[in-house]
């Protein structure tokens, strides 16, 4: 029930915590997480999800409305946020303390998050100065299970002329992550929307303060989540 013989390394089978994490992400905006979406995210067959859903709701971690989907209970949400805290702190620690690069940390954190103790996570957090955001710009839940609810707009939806701070890159795909990094589109960057083509066409933005233009197709723009920034007469407001 732990590691198998043939494939000792990559845990092919998602753990309970992985289910909770994807349910958290899928039902984030208050809705239900659909069986098939969970299955797609975890790369298992839908009946496997039905089975796990049954077990998880028996133990009180989720609530299941048949044919509708699932939601986390308070307990399940706590467990999910605990794993998200672990994941994001691990990514930050690996990046800052061990020289990993932005695109390479995800897989490592994905495995480690199941093995680390709360004590280790707290020690890492302290070593990093109790940071609030991970290398992708996502907020790190506190040990008590609180998380900053960011009000983010996808770049594809942001208004023409609006001033934005890139906060999250909504993909784990390393080719895309590398592409964004090459374009200078990393969390924390400031930008303005200068143009958008109709019919789901690309968005053109300008980086701040350099003014360098970038053209981002809609598929990719949908992955770039931004905070809309108030503008003061002396420039952009700081956080």
């Amino acid at each position: 029930m732990h590691a198998t013989l043939r494939d000792a390394n990559p845990p092919l089978t998602p753990s309970v915590e992985d289910y909770l994490k994807v349910i958290y992400h899928l039902s984030n905006q208050g809705g239900f997480a659909a069986t098939s979406d969970i299955a797609a995210m975890l790369d298992v067959a839908p009946p496997s999800v039905s089975g796990m859903v049954k077990r998880l709701s028996e133990t009180g971690l989720i609530e299941h409305v048949p044919y509708r989907g699932v939601q986390l209970t308070a307990q399940g949400r706590r467990a999910a946020l605990r794993m998200i805290r672990r994941h994001r702190l691990l990514e930050l620690y690996l990046t800052q303390q061990l020289g990993y690069d932005w695109g390479g940390v995800h897989a490592e954190a994905e495995r480690l998050e199941h093995a680390v103790s709360d004590e280790l996570i707290d020690r890492m957090a302290r070593a990093l100065g109790d940071p609030l955001y991970d290398p992708h710009g996502d907020p790190i839940p506190t040990a008590a299970g609180e998380i900053e609810e960011a009000e983010l707009v996808s770049l594809a939806d942001a208004g023409l002329g609006s001033k934005l701070e890139l906060r999250q890159v909504g993909t784990q795909d390393s080719a895309r992550l590398r592409f964004f990094a090459e374009q200078g589109l990393t969390p924390g960057v400031l930008l303005t929307v200068t143009d958008r083509q109709p019919f789901n066409g690309p968005t053109t933005i300008g980086l701040v303060p350099s003014g360098d233009p970038r053209v981002v197709g809609r598929e990719l723009a949908l992955l770039l989540w931004c905070r809309e920034m108030p503008v003061t007469d002396r420039g952009y407001a700081s956080r």
Copy 2:
């Protein structure tokens, strides 16, 4: 096949690698590892070991002589040493970089050693300056799978008057580890045997250079593995 529902945290079931590690330790001095000893070390029932032994020998990691015991093949030895390298580097990293104390690292390393990648281990090793010994004084196998074969004597067997360097503490029991640490009996310490009582009585030693005496009962003295040191006319030879 990964983490179960009821006991999400402590991996109650030993992994393949855990089997290889204990077989390595049990058959270290060239012998066979007995089924019941493996079972005792892993806290599983003997038939579970028989089952795993079958699978491990089918994949060529061990050789099994029925009713005699098992030995590692070259491949199995390599896999065991890889895990031992991970374990010892993790203990050292946690101790030196994250402020863990000597007694508390074992359980953490035991879980992490299954989740870390070779890359992470190599990065940790580099961050530590490619160390040769872990916090217990045990040699760390190289990435290529070589390990220093130490010629060690148990303190209980060392000759009266001999000069020794404490190299390994042969227990994982944290109460004993803490006791040794309090007595100043940590790997690297130099000492001389000043007295030994007959009938399995205690050994008296003097710490070097302070000369502080310590009295160690036979049960504990058996756990303290030392290197016998050549003496030069200017003092103890360095490593």
